[in-house]
């Protein structure tokens, strides 16, 4: 019997293989193709047969009169409803908590100085999105037991004229009625995708990211299908952003501070000393908490963009794996040390930031295991849903923050990467997507059940009807 392959031997073989495999790439985009695309003069990188297919389809559609998908376009700046222009453009005057401030630096909509003829905005504008009016979908899913609304993003390969497309659907869980709210992608076989990033507190507005090849944009979309408002044309770096409770503003992580996006305003970055992660709004929408380097930091948005203020320093060697601003006003932080992971503990801390110059900080619980970043607190703060590698493979667990007791979930759900985890208001149950199956986990007693055979990519649930 052969002896097991040593680490060194495996790495040596892997390096040889990777060098060989990387040399097998027969066709990447040429520099000229990349430059042309960036300059907005050409928009293809897919194989030629896909181009030929798309051109044939587009030609056929033109001959046939194009149909509904080709006839409805995004509305222009200044018009009401879908397609309002985004950052830096004229938009509706909106009252709100944010004004410019010396603490801000130009956001990522800023054009590189000295940029030659390249015009990414123009290139993206050429791929403008189709936004359809709402209509009933007769093939909608069945009623779901908790009622409320479910916003679904469905992406994939559709029939012509939308070759690759993403759809945004909203289902009324009480009646089972589904409306298609928006469709993106369109006629060229280019990468197209949709992600639902958040609901406003009243359930009327959705934050949606439409992602096309190199052209990501963020929209505030009315859940009743009456229209949408484009917030910006730039990717939001590493996370989908967090929608304010009033549904008008978005904060997101950047390498230099907290990104801030509001309709009709240029994007801004409220600078802090390091990269921000995990921004979360206060319940009244006047402040945001995020982790800036090792500091749990509060950004006050009430009267201008005030300087960020650190309220708690995460101990050296630890990282924040979960952050939430609870409805009772407390900030919950779960921090874990990577030094001896996966057996090092995770500590849950509650911060009362009534006075940010002197917040009270107290340890709530300590859990024996390392929790991976991306963990999530239930709305009532009772549970921390987390993932770890404690047994050498991914394990999903739920921690009772009152006792520190840990329960292993029946299925591994990919907590950090699963964008569809959605807690129900009672805090004792959550929904998630497994593959394309919608499932519900109830806690105490623990149960994991499939709800409907939805074919979806991501979704977010909201209890309110619009």
């Amino acid at each position: 019997m052969n002896s097991p392959m040593s680490d060194e031997q495996l790495e040596r073989e892997l390096r040889g293989y990777l060098d060989w495999e990387a040399g097998q790439v027969r066709r990447g985009p040429t520099s000229a193709e990349i430059i042309a695309r960036i300059s907005g003069t050409r928009s293809m990188t897919r194989p030629d047969r896909r181009l030929a297919m798309s051109l044939a389809v587009a030609g056929l559609c033109a001959v046939l009169g194009a149909g509904v998908f080709l006839g409805i376009r995004s509305q222009q700046p200044g018009q009401s409803g879908a397609g309002q222009s985004g950052s830096g453009q004229s938009g509706p005057a909106q009252s709100g908590p944010v004004a410019s401030s010396p603490t801000t630096v130009p956001g990522d909509s800023a054009q590189p100085s000295g940029t030659p003829s390249a015009s990414p905005a123009a290139a993206c504008a050429a791929n403008s999105y189709d936004v359809l009016p709402a209509r009933a979908d007769v093939s909608g899913p069945h009623k779901v037991p908790w009622g409320g609304l479910l916003a679904f993003a469905v992406s994939g390969y559709f029939s012509p004229p939308l070759i690759e497309a993403g759809k945004l659907e909203v289902t009324d869980g009480a009646t089972g009625t589904t409306r298609i709210i928006a469709v993106t992608g369109s006629r060229l076989p280019l990468y197209a995708d949709v992600h639902v990033a958040g609901w406003s507190a009243d359930g009327r507005t959705l934050l949606v990211e439409f992602k096309d090849l190199g052209c990501d944009s963020e929209w505030l979309v009315q859940a009743d299908g009456s229209g949408g408002l484009k917030l910006g044309d730039q990717p939001l770096w590493n996370d989908p952003g967090a929608l304010s409770p009033d549904g008008t503003s978005v904060v997101y992580s950047t390498p230099w501070g907290l990104g801030f996006l509001r309709a009709g305003m240029p994007s801004q970055v409220i600078a802090c000393a390091s990269e921000t992660t995990g921004p979360a709004w206060s319940p009244d929408g006047s402040r945001v908490v995020a982790v800036c380097g090792q500091q749990v930091t509060v950004f006050t948005l009430g009267d201008g963009l005030a300087s960020p203020r650190g309220i708690w320093t995460i101990p050296d060697g630890e990282v924040a794996v979960a952050l939430a601003w609870q409805s009772d006003g407390q900030i919950l932080v779960a921090a874990a040390s990577g030094a001896n992971a996966p057996t090092s503990p995770t500590t849950i801390v509650a911060i009362n930031p009534v006075d940010v110059t002197s917040p009270s900080v107290g340890q709530v619980a300590q859990v024996a295991n390392w929790a991976e970043p991306g963990a999530t607190f239930s709305p009532n703060g009772r549970w921390l849903l987390a993932e770890n590698y404690a047994s050498g493979s991914d394990v999903s667990e739920v921690v009772d923050t009152a006792t520190g007791a840990v329960q292993k979930l029946p299925r591994t759900i990919g907590v950090g990467a699963n964008v569809s985890i959605s807690w129900l208001p009672d805090g004792n149950s959550f929904l998630y997507i497994d593959g394309t199956s919608l499932r519900q986990v109830t806690l105490n007693p623990l149960r994991d059940t499939a709800i409907e055979p939805f074919a979806v990519q991501s979704f977010l649930w909201h209890p309110a009807l619009p």
Binding site: N2, P4, D7, L10, E13, L14, R15, G16, Y17, L18, E21, Q24, V25, R27, G28, S31, I34, I35, R37, T45, R46, R49, R50, V105, D108, P112, S113, G114, T115, P116, P120, S155, G156, Y157, L190, Y191, L213, G214, P235, N238, W256, A271, C292, Q295, T297, S307, I311, W312, T313, G338, A341, P342, V349, V356, V361, Q363, Y389, G392, G435, Q457
Partner: protein, 187 residues
């Protein structure tokens, strides 16, 4: 270790990274310098030439648009690799999702289908290629960045946006799986 609020409430600096030796590149030079490395990295992660091309294109567009925000020249390469790695992981997940759940094979005949007579892997790499393809894209990204591009584990963690221990776990799990499949293949 203190967890009290006392010294933790200092106002944070609003300074941006220092502007040091940054020289604005021209677009052609920028693309030429990084294209080959990025295409190879994307391909190793997502295992599909068309998706790799899309990931590289998208990364260049994002990077060029945000170039003015990057003021430390030594961060450019890992910054680009980070964008490409994440785009490639996303493309890989997406392809996997739709290949499993949404795409009857007869409807996707126009997707990339390798020419059986071209690019046939050398026999010495056949088993490794098969095993490597079975890894999740996140693990392939760690291996490509660490073992192919030579980033340290700390740098790899920064690029993929995961804690060091997660990256170590991914590397260990990947090696375990590769070792298992390779040894099964050799029996």
């Amino acid at each position: 270790m203190s967890r009290g609020p006392g010294s933790d409430t200092a106002e944070l600096s609003a300074a941006r990274p220092a502007e040091t030796t940054w020289v604005e590149p021209d677009l052609a030079g920028f693309v030429d310098e990084h294209r080959d490395r990025l295409v190879r990295l994307a391909y190793l992660i997502c295992r599909d030439e068309a998706d790799a091309a899309d990931a590289v294109q998208a990364a260049f567009e994002q990077a060029w648009r945000h170039l003015a925000d990057l003021r430390e020249v030594d961060r450019l390469r890992p910054w680009l690799d980070r964008i490409v790695a994440r785009e490639a992981i996303h493309a890989s997940r997406r392809r996997s999702l739709f290949a499993r759940f949404r795409l009857p094979r007869d409807q996707v005949a126009w997707l990339e289908i390798p020419d059986a007579n071209a690019g046939l892997p050398g026999l010495e790499w056949l088993a490794m290629r098969t095993a490597f393809a079975h890894l999740p894209s996140e693990q392939r990204a760690v291996i490509a960045l660490h073992l192919h591009l030579g980033y340290s584990l700390v740098e790899t963690a920064e690029i993929v946006g995961a804690p060091l221990e997660t990256v170590r776990s991914r590397l260990r799990l990947a090696k375990d799986r590769l070792r298992r499949e390779l040894e099964e293949n050799r029996r």
